[in-house]
């Protein structure tokens, strides 16, 4: 298991990422964050945790296992999220020029190291 700071540093090294947050999935609060100015970590944490909770319920209701990775694409970038065990969610905010494929790999590896 790696420390939160090392995990965030690794994820944020991906080109085009505007930051990452480690979130407590049960309460939607920030545990650690590394975000560019202008990105509201508290809002990202609360909303991403809520999104993951609802997605998990939806897929479980459909008889599937909990999602391992979520990509929410928007006009100006994406929000990427990966659960890290039962208690944490690792969330990254990507700009429009981000390498989302590489970000996905790094996020999944980082989530595994946090779990």
């Amino acid at each position: 298991m790696s420390g939160p700071a090392a995990v965030l540093e690794r994820v944020c090294a991906v080109r085009g990422l505007r930051g990452a947050v480690i979130v407590s999935s049960a309460d939607g609060l920030v545990i650690a964050e590394s975000l560019m100015e202008g990105v509201d970590g508290r809002a990202v944490a609360a909303l991403a945790a809520s999104l993951m909770l609802r997605l998990r319920r939806a897929v479980e209701a459909a008889g599937r296992s909990a999602p391992a990775f979520v990509q929410l694409a928007a006009e100006q970038g994406s929000v990427l999220a990966a659960p890290a065990g039962d208690d944490l969610v690792l969330v990254a905010v990507a700009g429009p020029d981000a390498n989302v494929g590489l970000a996905r790999l790094e996020l999944l590896a980082a989530a595994r190291s946090l779990a």
């Binding site: 979130v23 407590s24 049960a26 309460d27 939607g28 609060l29 920030v30 508290r42 809002a43 944490a45 609360a46 909303l47 945790a49 809520s50 909770l53």
Partner: protein
């Protein structure tokens, strides 16, 4: 949702929708209820308001004893439900919000949208009235019953 101050309706409705809270109560620091959502009995809302105002008064005094500023908010975590309690200042004085939420929401979500609710209320609040009628002992019960009728629609 019911209120005795119509200008709080829209912000409170938005807060309820966005936070997925089950119960919400806005009151003055003395425990006078301004708006409520989720209560079905007037006795429950009056009890919750009195207890909420008492808790905020106690924590304010605790903060004072510790030589610090007022506490921002208080979260009481239960097994199925959680209670969020926070006081905030408006041009009309100090108000208190009491929010009950369950597994459909989180502390983070409630805190986030509560802060937005407070900002909206601060922007919309009419200035405090200085020459308005003061509550009198002989009209207190009638005024209280009128408020309860407004809050419960009966």
């Amino acid at each position: 949702m019911r209120s005795i101050e119509p200008w709080v309706n829209a912000p409170l409705d938005r807060f309820l929708m966005e936070s997925s809270a089950r119960v919400a109560l806005l009151m003055t620091s003395s425990g006078q209820v301004v708006a409520q959502h989720g209560f079905t009995r007037s006795i429950d809302v009056m009890t919750a308001a009195a207890l909420g105002a008492g808790i905020v008064a106690s924590t304010d005094e605790l903060a004072r004893q510790l030589g610090s500023r007022r506490f921002g908010s208080l979260v009481h975590q239960g097994t199925r439900q959680q209670v969020f309690l926070a006081a905030f200042d408006l041009p009309r004085g100090r108000w208190i919000g009491l929010v009950v939420f369950d597994g459909d929401s989180t502390v983070g979500l409630v805190q986030l949208f509560f802060d937005r609710l407070v900002a909206e209320l601060a922007a919309l609040a009419p200035p405090a009235t200085t020459g308005g009628p003061r509550p009198l002992p002989e009209t207190f019960e009638r005024d209280l019953n009128a408020s309860l009728r407004a809050l419960f629609g009966r």
